[in-house]
């Protein structure tokens, strides 16, 4: 069971309090009607599925109920950092974890 730091509660808590919410930084287009079918497909379905650092969303569903972002190494499952919704992707060049 993972340990997750909630950036709102500022506490590190067991995974069972959280719900995974898919890849992060996939903003819903402002005007979907302006998108081609391919662009809309990319928004709906295409995912990075990174092997290594993965930017993803979690929700502290059994806590403060906030959605937030995280960078996690999908090879070790270790969280590199978590940050609040709306904040931009942190620079991890230093944190980048080798396999």
């Amino acid at each position: 069971m993972l340990l997750i730091h909630c950036p709102y509660c500022d506490e590190t808590l067991p995974e069972l309090e959280f719900a995974y919410a898919g890849e992060a930084h996939i903003a819903r287009p402002v005007d979907p009607s302006a998108l081609s079918d391919e662009e809309w497909r990319d928004f709906l379905f295409i995912r990075t599925n990174a092997r290594g650092t993965h930017f993803e969303r979690w929700r502290h569903i059994h806590g403060c109920a906030r959605f937030f972002n995280a960078a996690r190494d999908t090879v070790t499952d270790r969280f590199l950092v978590t940050y609040k919704a709306g904040e931009s992707r942190p620079d991890l060049t230093v944190k980048e974890s080798a396999e």
Partner: protein, 994 residues
Amino acid sequence: MSRYRIPGHGRVDHGAPVSFIFDGKTYQGLRGDTVASALLANGVHLMGRSFKYHRPRGTVTAGSEEPNALIGTSRGPGRFEPNTRATVQELRKGLVTESQNKWPRLSFDIGAINDRAYMLFSAGFYYKTFMWPKSFWDKVYEPFIRSAAGLGKSPTENDPDRYAARYLHTDLLIVGGGPAGIASALVAAKSGARVVLVDENPEMGGALLSDPSVMIDGAPAWEWLDTSLTELRAAGVRLMTRTTAIGYYHQNFVGLCERLTDHLDTPPADAPRERMWRVRADQVVLAQGALEKPLVFDGNDRPGVMLAGSAQTYLNRYGVRVGDNPAVLTCHDSAYHAAFDLADAGSRIAAIIDTRRDVRPDLTDAAAQRGIRVMQGHTATGTKGRLRIKSVRVNPVQDDAVGKPVEIACDALLMSGGWTPSLHLFSHTKGSLAWDADSNTFLPDRRTEACQIAGAGRGLWGFGPVLEDGVNAGLAAIEALSRSGNPRDLPVQNDRLGTGVSHTELPTDLSAGKAKAFVDFQNDVTAKDLRLAVREGMRSIEHVKRYTTNGMATDQGKMSNINGLMIAADALAKQPPQVGLTTFRPPYTPTSFGAFAGYLRGQTFQLTRTTPIDPWAEANGAVFEPVAQWRRGWYFPKPGEDMHAAVARECRATRASVGIFDASTLGKIEVAGPDAVEFMNRMYTNPWTKLAPGRCRYGLLLGEDGFIRDDGVIGRLSSDLFHVTTTTGGAARVLNMMEDYLQTEWPDLNVWLTSTTEQWATVALNGPNALALLKPLVEGVDWDDFPHMSVAECSVAGLPARLFRLSFTGEVGFEVNVPARHGLALWTALIEAGKPYDICPYGTEAMHVLRAEKGYIIVGQDTDGTVTPQDAGLDWAIGKAKPDFVGKRSLSRPDIVAKGRKQLVGLLTEDGSKLEEGAQIVLDPNQPLPMKMVGHVTSSYDSAALGHPIAMAVIEGGHDRMGEVVHIPMPDGVRRARITSTVFYDPTGERLKA
């Protein structure tokens, strides 16, 4: 007194005899014995039969790594378990045990003919045959293989015992209560850190329990052990015995299985049998020690052949001599001490056979003093004895040339192939191992978790070095906890240091092809099986393991992995690391399902939600159905009524007068704030801006993929406040989806969501008399301005209420919401007030029928996650003028606008028969299989109101096929049905206007 027990010797209670049964015979043991030690005390070595060849087997070890001595254990009805390790099961009064995998009896087993034909049962033999004739596989071959395999018998009764679980958070978890673990705990405890020390044995001490001869810190080993444990208890260290660390998971999450009652004569009532501890530790020290390796030679599996260290354990811990004249076969110094201890305890050591030419003189001298003959530079090439070893065949080895054999009589053979660090938990963490060529073992290398490894687990030998290492690990751990501690000196006198060499198979003068030199005892994998696997192209240890099943027995390779690897590497002429090591997987030792299930059994397996009105339904004979997490009243049968009759009556009564229905499970979400209407416009397909306060509207929610996710009636209570209802199953999902958009896509909106599902109890009244019934009970509603699809805050039956006027039946209908605590009061008040109208409680089934008669859909039944609003005939619910809403873009994707999509329609059979839900629909009933199916029946009911069955279906291009006839091929013939509108009852909606 058992013949092989030494009075007063060991840690067992000689004053407390315990009798138990093995294969129907009663034996005497002592409190503190395991089944294995007690049987050995009685001179019984034969304890089991092997997996494939059914060879007679005795215990090889004295611990949880035992591959052979597996027995069935039981304590009365429902309390039987197979494959229990006799070396672990403690004696308790009335313990009944039996040997396994034999017929008719352990000493004479028909299955042993496999042993005669063993040349046929070579590695992977079953991949190469049993293929002809094809039909024989299912009928003949597989049943044969299955009945031959399988060790013990499964339990066949329900288990009356309870199991428990507990979370535990600590600074430091130390796994292994041997010298290294205790030393770590001693220094860590002083730092004030929360420390937990666990050990799988009934008492702490590890190797100290088997080897009491050393002096630690000036005291005899066992005295030091007692004072140390006292010190730890005093310092508040949590000492957990009979507790196995089964798995090491992410971020120092460790699973511990604590065995609470299997050793008790009579467990207290309600006591759980086992408890799974889910430990989160900031730091972990792994001090799991090392496991002794068997030697690989012909006949190394005969009862009486066991590990030297285990024999020493039986002697010193249980006061049991494993034989009168054991021989010793070794390539490591440690076995000498076993020999010496046994000799000093009165056994006559037949010989010490050492594969090494050169042995430390102090050892040979000590042997000489005891009159023990040491045969240096010798090998063992066979053993004799049917059910117990009688002699061992020994040959000298001179530069790889094996000389003439001699027979040495013995009643036990104590072997030592050296020691392997126990790194199972470490490898659960995916920590990497490094091959140490000198000691021929893998040692811990790169760590992935916050852990230390201490003692024999790092390849150290001797109590002195191990204790020192334990101290250092403890210091490193508390330093990592940013606490400070002081080193501790634990001097050791007459320590038993030692070294050894390592072998593949022992050299032999016999044809290797004939030798039955076992590597995996339980699975009957021999050295030549491993070499055969390599010959057949299995180059990775994973392939070799899977092809031969080496290391896949219930000891999880603890006995066989390293020997298997050495032999495979030798066969491949590679270094072991190039061949790899099979990953150890949790659990460390086999762990009962019950321990994993914990409290999640029976009624606490998963929660069942009930409404405030549920007690009334229960008391009034409702039949319930599970819907999502809820239990809901399905129908309310009168005496003698079946479901069909009850549902028909409930429907008739509702249409004739008034029916009452518990709708409390519907999800409810309060959407409040200045931007509430904007939010609703973006989430739901419908337009909300023009909906006046005090009015309701049917709302449709799509996923971003354009498919229907949920629906419900939504009331606008004020310009800034909506009362949203969702489906019963959808409540949590819808709120999560709304929060997702609100928090991450539209954080600028001033609107907030609150779940009020359980704030309100909801009672639905439907029927021509619903209004008449309700009116007198309501205060605060202007009935002249309360048409269909209205909502008001008022009081009903003197209770604060939110009253909706809406209908899911086509009759005049209301939904009364009152604070949940008053739900039952409201219900009973309405039942009372309804008596003059013959009010009829109805359940979910009648609700389904009534809504189907009106063509109202049930999301999840008439839609299935692939249905768009157009497909469902709900285009009218789409705000055409709205620029965007969730899912809008997907509705214009090519396949969504394409012709021929399955669309929801009504169906009426021509012969008036009822269709089966899920029945498939075709246009041409005479086509051959596979048929072209154009749709299926989604809902089908007998309609009491219409006097005939009705059905809803999705059919390709259905909306353009009104009036057409389609066919439903059933096993008993083809039905014809005509496509109709989905509204079967009161198409003009007259009844709503009442």
